[in-house]
């Protein structure tokens, strides 16, 4: 048994009782990384010496009371870490080795003293659903390395699934925490928009992006969110709403919980295996005293188009800052200033990033703005209204996280639209801004994990966690571990 099979809370207790040291935990983390990361490729940047130094320093302290004290963690590489290379998995930022400040979430973690062991792989600038858009070696699924880990937080999900770290931070713009969590059989939470500060998160689509934790258990997840959530004056879109003690919501009691199951989330395109697992999960909820009813989110089918217009438009503006002037890789083939912008961007960005910038620039350009961008903003209102209406009557919305389990590497790379469809069940949640979690709810015949998505009301992560925890404790799915190797 690995030390990482314990929960974070159990490990904290072991540290307090001097049964283990922080150094033991960090060494365990690095041993596992050396063992498996050559196949998994979850990490882009590691700093073993610095992590061990921090571990030894923490071991000397009398006060070990931080709630994540000494716990090895990984950070998605679009979250800025002072003095630790931050690339967003883009060749454009390959040389960005010395960021000048920490993202607010990193400062908040630091205050509790977990140990960051490294930065995690992703789709370049968080644009993608498979990690195949990484500017480096793409991450593979620990359950079967022929399959993708999902994306864009594929490294964050794979590192937790493979036992390389106890928790990780990811970011979710259209499903980028929940979809890889589902594919890798871990717990991934996208909090309410505005719940967690985005300061220091390299912006993809500012009205949709949100940082959240990936972990092995719901309890671990709630612990991490408790630390990173809260208002931040450095992010004017972060909400000034009190952060409850999420771990206290984990009562195991869901008696009387009212669950809505959107018929659109179990429609055509969702595989039989996935449907079956979700129906089994609903039976578990029934046995625990919750009730469920079928409902409709009628504008679901329009979410994908709405999302790609809005997120790409926002991305085209956000990525304008990458010009090769102040940081990043500057093209050496430029003759003048304008040429330097064009060549640095064209050489530094990958195909998917360019495609999204082009789509967004087109949708915002003169003559098309009303037809595409503004139209999509209006449809966003209709999608949000669907959620508002259902969440007035029900406590949570439950359905699958993804239409299928993890697909094979290379299976969907030829056509962008085929890849995009993969996010059809997670995207509406970002458009509405409500919180959503993915937890393991079964396995396919091939042995790949299947994720259950639980969606809650604005700023009511507590109910989402309570529902997720009750299911987890009533089932065994979260105890299964990948046997690394797979057919290569």
């Amino acid at each position: 048994m690995s030390l990482f099979d314990y929960t974070i809370k159990e490990l904290e207790a072991k540290l307090h009782n001097h049964e283990i040291t922080v150094e033991d935990l960090v060494k365990e983390s690095y041993e596992q990384i050396k063992e498996v990361d050559g196949d998994v490729h979850a990490f882009l940047t590691l700093d073993e010496e610095k992590a061990l130094e921090k571990a030894r320093e923490l071991d000397k302290r009398e006060d070990k009371s931080g709630i994540l004290f000494g716990i090895p963690a990984g950070i998605k590489d679009n979250i800025v870490t002072k003095g630790l290379r931050t690339t967003c998995a883009s060749q454009f930022l390959d040389n960005f080795t010395d960021p000048l400040y920490n993202a607010t979430v990193v400062d908040k973690l630091d205050a509790e003293n977990p140990v960051a062991v490294g930065k995690l792989n992703m789709d370049e600038f968080a644009m993608g659903s498979s990690n195949e858009n990484s500017g480096y070696e793409p991450t593979r699924n620990p359950w079967n390395t022929d399959h993708v880990p999902g994306g864009s937080s594929g490294g964050s999900a794979a590192a937790v699934a493979a036992g390389e770290v106890l928790f990780s931070l990811g970011s979710d713009t259209g499903g980028s925490i929940r979809q890889p969590a589902a594919f890798c059989g871990v717990v991934g939470m996208k909090p309410t928009y505005g719940r967690v500060s985005r300061f220091g998160l390299v912006a993809f689509a500012s009205s949709l992006d949100q940082i959240g934790p990936l972990t092995r258990t719901v309890e671990d997840n709630a612990r991490v969110l408790e630390v990173i959530a809260g208002h931040d004056k450095m992010d004017s879109t972060s909400a000034d709403v009190d952060v409850p003690a999420y771990t206290e919501a984990l009562t195991g009691d869901v008696k009387g919980l009212k669950i809505a199951v959107p018929k659109e989330y179990l429609a055509e395109g969702v595989s039989e295996e996935v449907k079956h697992s979700v129906m089994e999960a609903l039976k578990v909820y029934e046995s625990l005293g919750a009730t469920w009813e079928e409902v409709s989110l009628p504008h679901s089918k329009y979410a994908l188009a709405t999302y790609y217009l809005l997120s790409s438009s926002e991305a085209s503006a956000n990525l304008a800052r990458f010009d090769g002037v102040r940081y990043g890789v500057r093209s050496e083939n430029a003759e003048n200033m304008l040429d330097m912008f064009v060549k640095s961007r064209s050489e530094g960005f990958g195909d998917e990033v360019k495609r999204r910038i082009m789509l967004g620039t087109f949708a915002l350009s003169s003559g098309y703005y009303d037809a595409y961008y503004k139209k999509a903003q209006k449809v966003r209102t209709l999608i949000k209204n669907d959620f508002d209406k259902i969440l007035e009557e029900y406590d949570v919305i439950v359905g699958p996280t993804t239409p299928t389990p993890a697909f094979k590497v290379g299976e969907k790379t030829s056509d962008p639209l085929t890849m995009y469809v993969n996010d059809i069940l997670t995207i509406p949640v970002n458009l509405a801004g409500v919180p959503g979690i993915s937890i393991p709810c079964g396995f396919s015949e091939e042995g790949l994990p299947i994720g259950l998505q639980i969606i809650g009301n604005y700023f009511d992560e507590s109910t989402v966690y309570r529902a997720a925890h009750a299911f987890e404790q009533a089932t065994e799915h979260h105890k299964k571990r990948p046997q690394l190797g797979g057919a290569k």
């Binding site: 040389n95 000048l100 879109t237 090769g324 060549k343 209006k378 209709l382 056509d415 962008p416």
Partner: protein, 96 residues
Amino acid sequence: MAEISKEQVKHVANLARLEFDDEAVEQMANELSAIIEYAEQLNELDTENVKPTTHVLDLKNVMRKDEPKKWITQEEALKNAPDQKDGQIRVPSILE
């Protein structure tokens, strides 16, 4: 509509400060046309009286005092710059 020409791709590329070779222009035209054609399904919806959502939270004009504080030094600001001279970032000439 939904057909995006190679000329349009070149125009948008210029706005976005990107460049593509001829083959990539053609591919981009095809891919963007397919995505835009897909996006046109939004026109099935009557949104005449629907307000656009720019932001999901009820936040308006979040203000704070504009107080100067110590952030980074000039030296730090130059640390990641690709080229520099005399304490400033150097770029290629703007005018020929």
